[in-house]
């Protein structure tokens, strides 16, 4: 049987050893930092940095696939729409004939894209390099209620689980004469028999898991839950945290200062 239990594959890299909270902090610090900064330059620099982080984590190839796969079409679309039709366009840099491309719109589009990509990239790296159990242990340790922690864990697991079920069910339906290959209509037709069992079985799965948790006393109030997975903060974590905090403060102050200058 396939052994991939979720998107996480242990590689024991520096990034993987980081505390999950540090990685979550990185998503917000870098993501919000890019959002607040006035121009697209910072975002592009952060994205370059993320490629470095992905290389460190040993997932550069997959990371590049996701970033370019999402980035290129979105960039093309936003550059066209915002570049040509942004209401604030005053400086025109090119003439396409049917519309003029404005610098303001291009800058705006690049900023949205860079922010999106930073959020996407940081989240992707976090997700790919963090064992879900460790993530939930870290979250509950820093004060999240265990029930909410379980919700996070369940939602992280649900997609790979469904994919696995989907492939088994596809095999079962192929064995009943359903063609799952071929043209687009054949494919859509073939997916209808798959959806029912996938949804039904995930519902019954969820119910069963809920009952199992209850029988293990998950819902008992007034006890301090402990976690089997140990999460620790290392010196690297502290260093990264300080860097991320400094980065965020610097961006905020820079943004405020530029705003003040304008006034």
């Amino acid at each position: 049987m396939a052994t991939i239990s979720n998107t996480f594959i242990p590689k024991n890299t520096v990034i993987e050893r980081l505390n999950p909270m540090t990685k979550i902090f990185a998503i917000f610090s870098l993501g919000l930092g890019t959002l607040i900064s006035p121009g697209p330059r910072l975002g592009l620099a952060v994205i370059a940095g993320l490629f470095g982080a992905a290389w460190l984590a040993g997932i550069l190839k997959d990371f590049a696939k996701i970033m370019f796969g999402f980035g290129i079409p979105v960039t093309a679309m936003l550059l066209f729409i915002q570049g040509c039709y942004h209401p604030g366009n005053v400086t025109f840099i090119a003439d396409l004939g049917f519309a003029k491309v404005g610098l303001e719109g291009v800058r705006y589009a690049l900023k949205i894209i860079s922010t999106l990509l930073v959020f996407l990239g940081t989240f992707y790296i976090m997700n790919k390099t963090t064992y879900p159990g460790k993530l939930v242990a870290a979250l509950t340790e820093s004060g999240m209620p265990p029930k909410a922690g379980y919700l996070v864990l369940a939602s992280l697991n649900v997609v790979p689980q469904m994919q696995r079920r989907m492939s088994v069910i596809r095999e079962a339906q192929e064995a009943r004469g359903v063609e799952t290959g071929g043209g687009i209509t054949a494919r859509i037709k073939a997916y209808i028999p798959l959806l029912g069992p996938v949804i039904m079985s995930s519902l019954t799965d969820a119910q069963e898991r809920g009952m199992t948790l209850e029988t293990r006393g998950f819902g008992i109030a007034g006890v301090k839950p402990t976690a089997y997975v140990e999460v620790c903060k290392t010196r690297t974590d502290r260093a990264v945290n300080i860097f991320l905090t400094a980065f965020f403060i610097a961006v905020v102050s820079a943004a405020v200062l530029t705003k003040l200058d304008f006034i």
Partner: protein, 269 residues
């Protein structure tokens, strides 16, 4: 109908060779049982019989035709496969619709579907439950519903993956009668099972798999006489067989009657 495996190797994409060169010819109408511990490669092997899995190397021939020439859906007319978990297979709102789904996929004439429906429903014990929702059936009934749905397609070969799992005595009896009826109709049944009592009661030929290889293949009496090799695959013969072997009887027996007979014979000598 003949299924032939020629030096079949299979590795899952995630790595690890599951089948390490299997050579096997299964033909005729004599039911065949495949046994072996979990992870021996039984399911992986039979999933090659209708092309759900394609060999990494080696060949699978159905009546001399290479498995690669058609899709699984096309093979489903000839080779029926009943999956281990009924919930993976059932998705329609009534047993009747489940029964009719497969035949319609392979374009069986409506008249034929109607005719088969009666016979199959009777055989798998679903005649009274044709209008029930499959999700309201008991796990054992669900299994028979999936068996019925595959039988409806009238394949020449039927593969049952662990049909005894979760069955009571009554269920096992029904399975045996299904296998018998199919043999009478000239169909070939291939069954994976962990229930040795079930296996010896209706399968003349038994194939034992271990670690991705076939380690024993032969008549039930021959296979269960190989106690040393069986130990390697962690397959335990039925209790009465073990008692007979422990008592030093030369004959391999599977029933109390046969045991008594063999005992009497040896006493006479």
């Amino acid at each position: 109908m003949q299924i032939e495996l020629k030096n079949l190797h299979y590795s899952y994409p995630s790595g690890g060779e599951v089948l390490k060169g299997i050579n096997l010819v299964i033909g005729g109408t004599e039911p065949v049982a495949i046994i072996g511990q979990n992870g021996a490669g039984k399911t992986t092997a039979v999933k090659h019989f209708n092309g759900i899995l394609r060999p990494t190397s080696g060949e699978v021939l159905i009546n001399g035709e290479n498995i690669e020439t058609r899709s699984t859906a096309q093979w489903s007319k000839k080779v029926g496969y009943v999956f281990q978990n009924p919930d993976d297979q059932l998705f329609l709102e009534s047993v009747r619709k489940e029964f009719e789904f497969g035949p319609r996929q392979i374009k069986m004439p409506e008249k034929e579907i109607k005719r088969r429906n009666e016979w199959v429903a009777e055989l798998v014990g679903m005649s009274e439950k044709l209008d029930m929702h499959p999700f309201d059936l008991t796990p054992s009934e669900k299994k028979f519903c999936t068996i019925g749905a595959v039988l409806m397609m009238d394949p020449d070969v039927l593969i049952f993956d662990e049909p005894t799992c979760g069955q009571d005595v009554q269920g096992n009896h029904r399975l045996l009668s299904i296998i018998k009826a199919l043999k009478e109709r000239g169909k070939l049944c291939i069954t994976i099972s962990h229930d040795m009592k079930f296996v010896v009661s209706s399968f003349r030929r038994i194939i034992v798999m271990c670690g991705g290889e076939v380690i024993l293949d032969g008549r039930a009496e021959e296979v269960f006489a190989q106690t040393e090799i069986l130990k390697k695959s962690f397959v335990a013969p039925p209790p009465v067989t073990k008692v007979a072997q422990g008592a030093g009887l030369k004959k391999t027996v599977f029933t109390t009657e046969a045991f008594m007979e063999a005992l009497e014979d040896e006493r006479k000598v």
